[in-house]
Subunit: 369 residues, 2 copies
Amino acid sequence: MDNVTRREFTKLGALGLAAQAMPAAVAQAQQADARTGYAVIGLGRIADHFLRATRDSKTSRVTGLVSGHRDKALRIAAEYGVPESAVYSYEDMDRMKDNQQIQAVYVALPNSMHAEYTLRSAKAGKHVLCEKPMAISVAECEAMIGACKAANVKLMIAYRCQYDPLHLKAIQLIRDGNIGTLNVIQGAFGGPQPVGEWRITKKLGGGGSLMDLGIYPLNASRYLAGEEPVEFKAFTSTNDHDGRFNEVEENITWTMRFPSGVLANCTSSYGAHMPGYFKVAGSKGWIEMAPAYNYDGMRLRASYRNADGHSEEIDETSPDKDPIEFVRQMDHFTTCIRQNQTPHTPGEEGLRDMEHMKAIYKSAGIDIL
Amino acid sequence: MDNVTRREFTKLGALGLAAQAMPAAVAQAQQADARTGYAVIGLGRIADHFLRATRDSKTSRVTGLVSGHRDKALRIAAEYGVPESAVYSYEDMDRMKDNQQIQAVYVALPNSMHAEYTLRSAKAGKHVLCEKPMAISVAECEAMIGACKAANVKLMIAYRCQYDPLHLKAIQLIRDGNIGTLNVIQGAFGGPQPVGEWRITKKLGGGGSLMDLGIYPLNASRYLAGEEPVEFKAFTSTNDHDGRFNEVEENITWTMRFPSGVLANCTSSYGAHMPGYFKVAGSKGWIEMAPAYNYDGMRLRASYRNADGHSEEIDETSPDKDPIEFVRQMDHFTTCIRQNQTPHTPGEEGLRDMEHMKAIYKSAGIDIL
């Protein structure tokens, strides 16, 4: 068993044998592994994307799991070669401070738990990659930034689209001046939420569709414009009166003004089918991504005149392979940890969105966040 | 020459011979023609679409032209078989009251001239099909409605999209409940305007991009929602400081609320390349048209679950043949004239858009219209 390779181990793991049968081999394989170890906190859908992405990462691996469902956690631990000793409950996860195989955590919990688990992870000396929205209030975001600074650990918000090649290409096309003076950005993201979904509770979601889906076109507008919006006007509405939206808004539309004069129009919904997209319109052309916020199959189109005055047309679809941006995201954070650099999307990036969302809600007459 | 057919005449007309060579034949051919006769007032780009559409109409024809460019008007008169005696200048067009071959006019002038020429046409006893925007103020729209009523002539605003088969199909899909509860409508239309364009002058255009391009997604939002918006929030901006936008706004974004809770986000621009589109999102699916406001090649897509719970996908492109909706528009108005019916898009439809645009501008801090 001593010379079991990671690949062989993973195969055994998939059969559900590894965690029980080979603790010694596990420990040895993991200690020999130079990749940075992450503990995944919360094992829902988004965590699954992160976990699968570790298979394609040369820099990062999973070395711990935190869950309230131990059976599920043990099954996943076996699959990814995580030793049973590194499977924690929410109550005892502070013990991970003694686990040297865990250098960082990935917080994939409901929104309202982001702050608490970021603070506890920082206290345990772990770097924190936290899902968006960063938390459910400006004060929480500020506390998270402060706690990570005090503990001397990195904090990054998982804005995966900012690590996606097609989104980055869109940004570059704009920065290179291809579509001329930027005038208007539009975007939306929406999808019906089922009864019982934590996102539609004020307690766990913190707000309505803006928090979890509207944040995509909001964040995209900011990185496409390359500046911060300064004024907001919004409406909210709830049209499906089936009990799902007693606590949070179903729909929200807002328009915002940037200092340069760029205007943006964005929309999100927890009731309507609204495939995510963005459109950028400039004096020399336009760029559109639709779908823009899926896990795969994103499509970038652009039409503009190049420096020679010739028409350029772009039409690219991202490979139908799930975790590209998850891999790039974790590789980036791992690099920041190793080289002591500030992440491209630090806590301050999440704080800014929270401040903007607070202003958007306020314009719609809702005083939260 | 007596038995010259209309087709033969048109051929001769195209050679520039008809108007001079055959006044007797012209008069005879026209008197035998049962189609309703229109005088086209203003011979710009949109008039050309109307003129070409008369070739495909079984109900309507061109029997008069009003222009400040007599040479151009005579050339077009020859092409369409209009007698030289029915080619008027702006100064002497009131003489058309004595021309029994002209039952209606098509007002295709710059926005600020719509009111005056509608009033003069009504006074001459002619029914009025007027381009959108109806005028450049609420007061003008009200005067136009009053004048046509007093003169007992019909007034219709040329909202061509409301006569386009694909737009009508989109409306029907919504009314039939296919996409469930309506939640959000989005739309935009924009295109760079050249220096010297009448649209970018306050005097002729009346306002900026909202007046001529924003009116498309505004009007679409209303006929897609099937109700009137009651609240508006908007921003305007001008980013290209090259003198084109000293008088009117370059960009405008606005969001609006409908009584049912439907929210709409719309945008227009005179500086940016922004292909026209609309998207409608409901609880059971979505509908999108892009391009939506072109003269041809419009594409309707939809995705929803039908009554049986099966997925339905629609993807239809309108024939690459220019004037379908122009033909349907004029045929509708002709039918209304003959059967004494109120048009589907009467003056009141144009007045409502003007009131909404006034409210949108007001929200952006601009007190006009």
